[in-house]
Symmetry: C3
Subunit: 205 residues, 3 copies
């Protein structure tokens, strides 16, 4: 993707300075997408969301209102970023004009990247520490503070967020019987081995 | 109320698409009120607040800056919604363009409503899970995550928010002596029966 | 400082009603600085930040996106206010148009001030209770709820935020050996006496 596609919708009150927005994406009022930010196809970027240069967002991603997504944050396809979710990229921040830290902020060495894998859901007002990875199809409960890696398909919540259960690709809770689970909502099947949850297949007919 | 009253104040940088705003209500910069949102009389809607179509707000309500109020949320009269308070309406969210959930999001069956009763106060940066009711004159402490129903006049806080005390209509803490309390600030009187707090009457002269 | 300096940068989508902005300060899109707010020199005020009349901000302060800073909040020099940080100024809020509290809100007696000292860092989405002081060079971890005073150089986090360690002026963690610590990053030296941390001097050459 080299230039913004022609059928991108940009609300007249949004500010879009990036030219790397995929086709079908919609960007709403007061959102601000900076130069150098990359957004895929068919995304929905809510009111007041802020996406900094250097942030990368995949296809079919929902970014709800007022999310803050900084340089160093990479979000894969089909992710739901709930309202007021805030990422970070500096583990030990100080005001960069403070005398003692001017040198540190002269380069980008302070920057610590964050990865959000395919299909993840981040609930409303979640805060995400930098330097971590959130595994595919995991769900983070509302108001949580994520301070360490989250395994694929985990349901985590709290401050700090801890593993409290498991979720299906469709977003509903999974109940494991020993190593096996079938989603009560959509029928997809999973296997758990040494705490790692793997997708096995769709509903058996 | 069928059309927006003539003495509504709308800041030139606000976006108001609803025609159901009560008289005397003020809507400030960068706020966005969508078509189909209902707002009562004498409300104050702070900068950057977002009120979706289908949300209902009563009279004399204060909505501070950057609150996010979605379809399915009903707020009664005299409520204080603190700054950065975020509601939710989907208990198991996924990005709606994810293949496995397209069917779920084809209708509004996923939507889970929330009720906030008369006189409630929600502190700064509170997050409210959907599907719950917050009872009249309850107060939710700053930064709390509300995950279950809150009884009338309860003071709750934490993540998840738990009952930590009781508050008067005037907002100050009540100290119960057995089943009775008189507010040290305004003199209103209360009775507690089986953990339910009831207003008895105003100050005895 | 009596009038806004000539080299202040104000984004065309910001709203600045104060005339007390120091030289070199930059104010970004959708930020709103009300009449009577005081902002020092070389500050950076992020998108969507809201600074009310009566708030005071020193020099070299970073205020990231969507921070809410009210009347009664005073922020010293070189402070980092992370994204989505929300202050408060009313310990027992109610909607001011509620009959029982109209008298209370007729004056400013309800207002409870907050002080943030030199060099402090407040992490992303921190909520700060009013009536407290955050001591110099303290760091508050992301998502924390600050409900009581924070000592100088303390690292605090959680809800409520508790002292979990110590940080250097440069922002990095300090490890005390009995009463003494030397920062592993910048070499500044500290002494602890009765839980109070004092700066001793810069790196010994």
């Amino acid at each position: 993707m080299e230039t913004t596609a022609s059928n991108v919708f940009i609300h007249p009150r949004a500010i879009v300075e990036s030219d790397q927005i995929g086709r079908g994406t919609r960007i709403w009022a007061s959102a601000h997408v900076l130069k150098g930010a990359v957004i895929g196809e068919n995304c929905n970027i809510g009111d007041g969301a802020f996406i900094e240069g250097g942030a990368k967002i995949g296809n079919n991603v929902t970014v709800k209102n007022q999310c803050l997504i900084w340089e160093g944050v990479t979000i894969a396809d089909n992710v739901f970023v709930g309202p007021n979710v805030v990422f970070t990229n500096d583990p030990w921040p100080r005001s960069p004009r403070l005398e003692q830290v001017k040198e540190r902020y002269a380069t980008k060495q302070w920057l610590s990247p964050t990865q959000v894998a395919e299909g993840v859901s981040l609930g409303a007002s979640v805060t995400v520490m930098c330097g971590i990875t959130i595994g595919e199809y995991a769900t983070v409960g509302i108001g949580s503070v994520v301070t360490r890696d989250v395994p694929a398909h985990a349901l985590v919540y709290g401050a700090p967020a801890r593993v409290m259960g498991a979720v299906c690709r469709c977003g509903h809770k999974l109940q494991f019987q020993q190593q096996h689970a079938t989603c009560g909502t959509c029928g997809h099947r999973y296997r758990k081995e040494k705490e790692l949850i793997q997708w096995v297949g769709p509903k058996t007919i």
